[in-house]
Symmetry: C2
Subunit: 336 residues, 2 copies
């Protein structure tokens, strides 16, 4: 059995040194980076049996997903990527090799997104858990977009398509068949290997978006948080939600309304945002240049809370994350 100290050494040996900010990476009491402008930090935790099952995800994919979900918070601020720190709680049933696979999955995404994994901690634990700290930066605070800047009359937009991660989870958990294999693979990929919209997030921030969140818990929940932080209400026209290919079929096979997947299942890691009406064209162009499509799905109005509207304009509810998560699915709390 490799000691945790040796494992940390093996992890460090696999981590690329990148970024002009990093002065001291892992191996000292702390990592040291050149600060510049403003620093943006987010912390997320992922626990076996709550956020993932080892039976349905590879360690490589898990490492990718933990970092991707964490970086998605930086995307939602419009921040530049900086550093990441990993804490691994390692149960005795996992081998060191599996921890290294997890790190390899994270490191591959880190390399692709300009992130330096700069340190962390490894400890024994009963279940596998991963806590990720990501640090981003911007030259000035004004370059960043919080959740609190929406104004009544703003258009509410979302990037990409929704429901794919939830449909992928259903495919894994319920072993649904009958789907085109390529479509099924794409949905599994949406669930297992989400892509943080970092370039798009920065482009949207520059294009005049003034409130933004990532779609981690579904547009219903994440929209509610923008509404709350901005002190207004957000109306979402459910019929306008862009669906990933295959979501309708998976929903039909599972006996679920596809809108529940699109608005409630979450983990799509797209970006949900508010933009003033006159910025819409610029926002669309900026997103397109960054490789993302924009759908306009609602508006900010006076009031409070989230209002989900059907095609007739009547309010309806969607089922949230916990409904799709299976028996052990404690709903994870929103990270800060």
């Amino acid at each position: 059995m490799t000691s945790e100290f040796e494992l940390l050494e093996q992890i460090r040996a696999r981590l690329g040194r990148r970024g002009e900010r990093v002065l001291r990476a892992a191996g000292d009491d702390a990592a040291v980076v050149r600060g510049d402008g403003v620093e943006v930090t987010s912390v997320d935790a992922f626990v076996e049996g709550v956020h993932f099952r080892l039976g349905t995800t590879s360690l490589l994919d898990l490492g990718h997903k933990c970092l991707a979900a964490s970086l998605s918070d930086l995307a939602a601020m419009g921040a530049q990527t900086g550093e990441a720190f990993f804490v691994l709680g390692m149960p005795s049933h996992l081998e060191s090799q599996e921890a290294l696979e997890l790190i390899d999955g994270a490191e591959a995404l880190a390399a692709r997104t300009g992130v330096a994994i700069c340190g962390g901690d490894v400890t024994a634990s009963r279940e596998l858990f991963i806590a990720v700290t990501v640090v981003g930066h911007a030259s000035r605070e004004a370059e960043l977009v919080g959740r609190d800047g929406a104004r009544p009359g703003d258009a509410i937009g979302v990037t990409g398509a929704l429901g794919g991660a939830g449909a992928g989870l259903l495919l894994l958990e319920r072993k649904l068949g009958g789907l085109d294999p390529d479509v099924g693979s794409a949905l599994l990929e949406r669930h297992l290997r989400p892509e943080p919209r970092l370039t798009t997030g920065r482009a949207l921030a520059r294009a005049g978006v003034r409130a933004m969140a990532d779609v981690s818990d579904g547009v219903a929940s994440d929209g509610e948080r923008i509404a709350e932080a901005s002190g207004l209400a957000i109306e979402i026209r459910l019929a306008e939600l862009p669906l990933d290919e295959g979501v309708a079929e998976v929903a039909a096979a599972a006996g679920i309304d596809p809108l529940d997947l699109a608005a409630g299942a979450g983990e799509d890691y797209e970006l949900l945002f508010a933009a003033p009406g006159d910025a819409r064209a610029a926002v669309e162009a900026a997103a397109e240049a960054a490789g993302s499509a924009v759908s306009w799905i609602g508006r900010a109005v006076e009031g409070a809370g989230i209002r989900l509207l059907d095609e007739a304009g009547n309010p309806r509810q969607v089922r949230g994350w916990d409904h799709f998560r299976g028996p052990s699915g404690d709903r994870p709390a929103e990270p800060a």
Copy 2:
């Protein structure tokens, strides 16, 4: 049962907003602080049954200790304190009130040390775990002290006294009696509520110390890390180790050599450092002004590794952390 989202809200309500760096604290996708000079980040994890037992520590003390141990890494760099982020893995047997007590313990230390707890995450888990990210800063990299700057001929010093945390752990785990109650209380305090040497660490850095680590795993292990990072050997004269009051009595009652407690048990969170000979007087004066005594316990020499010497100058071994930790005591790995 409070939801994790509600619990996060309750936690946020208890956190003071402090520090001129903080632009956005918890509640958005990420926290935003004004970067300035260099940023110093360390991550540590604490797991029930590995690092602590709920039967022998209060949640208030646990919150204190997790933050103190984390801040100790900033002290060892000579950094100014900045922000902290907490991840809590909450097992179902814990009530929200207990999580809030843990946060209260951390927040009290944060307030005293100028730290802003700026965010975090709460999740369900099987065992209680806490992952802490601390961020410090300095105007210039040159103000910080790594582990790699020791030079042959340097004097090796340590602040305060050693062995108290290990003796306190023995008192808790083995229920030893016969000790003066005040001395016993002080040892328990050393174990349960360690004090990060933040002011002393900055003073030592200014006074010319050129390699430093905190005593988390014992001077034998922590000295070995300085030796390794600096590419030399470190000799420690065990007879020179400053012992906390009562360590000898506890060791005798437990049938252990007190030097094992002083050099091997760790968790004293004092500072171990290397200083050039001509800086010794300045280092002593700086430490004293910061409220710490300095003991000179060895020297850096050509070679590799740690050399523990008895009074006759002969090499000897000490028992490490794992020996004192009891049956569930997996040795925690060194964090980065």
